[in-house]
Amino acid sequence: MNLKRTPLYDWHTAHGARMVDFGGWEMPVQYNSILEEHRAVRQQAGLFDVCHMGEAHIRGPQAGRWLQQMVTNDPMTLQINQAQYNVMCQENGTALDDLIIYRLGEAHFLAVLNASNVDKDVNWLRQHLESGVTLEDASDGTALMALQGPAAQTILQKLTAVDLSQLRYYWCQPGAVAGVDTLICRTGYTGEDGFEVMVSSDKAVAIWGALMQAGASHGLLPVGLGARDTLRLEAAMPLYGHELDEETTPLEAGLTRFIVLDKDFIGRDAVRDEKEKGLKKRLVGIEMVDRGIPRQDYAVLYQGEVVGKITSGTMSPTLEKAIAMAYVRSDLREVGTELAVMIRDRPAKAVIVRRPFYKR
């Protein structure tokens, strides 16, 4: 299968990026050093190509009511230009995807989807479409770039007349950036302050260049998927395919505050049932006590017995400790619980810690 490329592909390769296959896309994993890119985002700013993400517009007089049935949170409560984190479930309550829904008008919503799930999501949504609602998959024509880090506001403000100090977390604002029409969103996936800028694909290169230039004096670096993963992991944000999948429910993933049970949605009965009967497994944060780095699928033990497995793990560049997220038997979720992770056939001591691992 041919890998897809974003409009910024040529820029990445011209700037020394190492490209990898990610969800069917040829994406930069790093330019120079994952650690350096990670630190740039924590201390100054980083720019991410997230054009591979999917975008679907949902419009029509019944758009809000219909969306409400499709996801766990309640998009009907959104004001215009407000955003909301959601999970889309199957009937059995497990997660098809996690997504951010923006309300762009009274009868116009925009869903931002994980790259590897776009086709699956769009098919699912189309199958359930009702009269009075239209769905437009705008993924190919839409570019998305994330500018993240403490200097993000200063950098972006140089290029726009929109007063960014008035734009709150999980809100968005249409406006010109470097003379190009965009949607500026105060969202991100790093645990830092920052923005995501949505623009027509043919303008991606121009906006990317303008941002890199505006950020040059502020320590801005382009950042690949390698650091994107360590940043989101320190912030304990779930990644579909790791903490969420079709075998996992949003309750197990600890996403309770994004589930509204007093309205109907696909999977609600299963989720409610699960809530009453108790969970089989639960997502926890783990920090290593012994040396070693926990990685995806490593077994987790409690008193010598296998009780779960690692979903994501790394050496945290900020904390300089090995950290991980893991699913464990749900009675073991207490912070301070001593566990072990099987690292190359040897149990290494670990402990359950509070999430997120890093908070700005």
Binding site: V29, S33, I34, L35, G226, R291, T314, M315, R344
Partner: protein, 128 residues
């Protein structure tokens, strides 16, 4: 990429350098470049017997863990104490400060079977 002429190399990108009847072992410039930032190195304890082409340790970058394969057979007599706190030495100076173990080798002939610097350079070339 310039390779130290007196070193010997494996196709798994380890190097071996003769030092009396001992052999110093590490990974190559190419290997550290492919790995990216090294954040953890797991080495055998001193006294352990290791075998040609068998795993003797693990080097971990931010993204993944990779096995280290021994270029020789023998007994580990020294490990690099600097790598515990500064695994980045592997990136910064793979042929020097980033060495991993010293092995007391029984059969020095093993070393002759490894790639010379020129052969390894040609091998890297073939990888593209």
């Amino acid at each position: 990429m310039s390779l130290p002429k007196e070193y010997r190399f494996t196709r798994d990108h380890e190097w071996a350098k003769l030092d009396g009847n001992r052999v110093r072992v590490g990974i190559t410039e190419y290997a550290q470049e492919q790995l990216g930032d090294v954040v953890y190195v797991e080495l055998p304890s001193v006294g352990k017997q290791i075998t040609l082409k068998q795993t003797f340790g693990v080097v971990e970058s931010v993204k993944a863990a990779s096995d280290l394969f021994s270029p020789v057979t023998g007994k580990v007599v020294e490990t690099n104490p600097g790598l515990e706190d500064s695994p980045e030495l592997v990136n910064q100076d793979p042929y020097g400060e980033g060495w991993m173990i010293v092995v007391e080798v029984k059969d020095m002939g093993e070393l002759q079977n490894l790639l010379s610097a020129d052969d390894y350079a040609a091998y890297l070339e073939s990888l593209g």
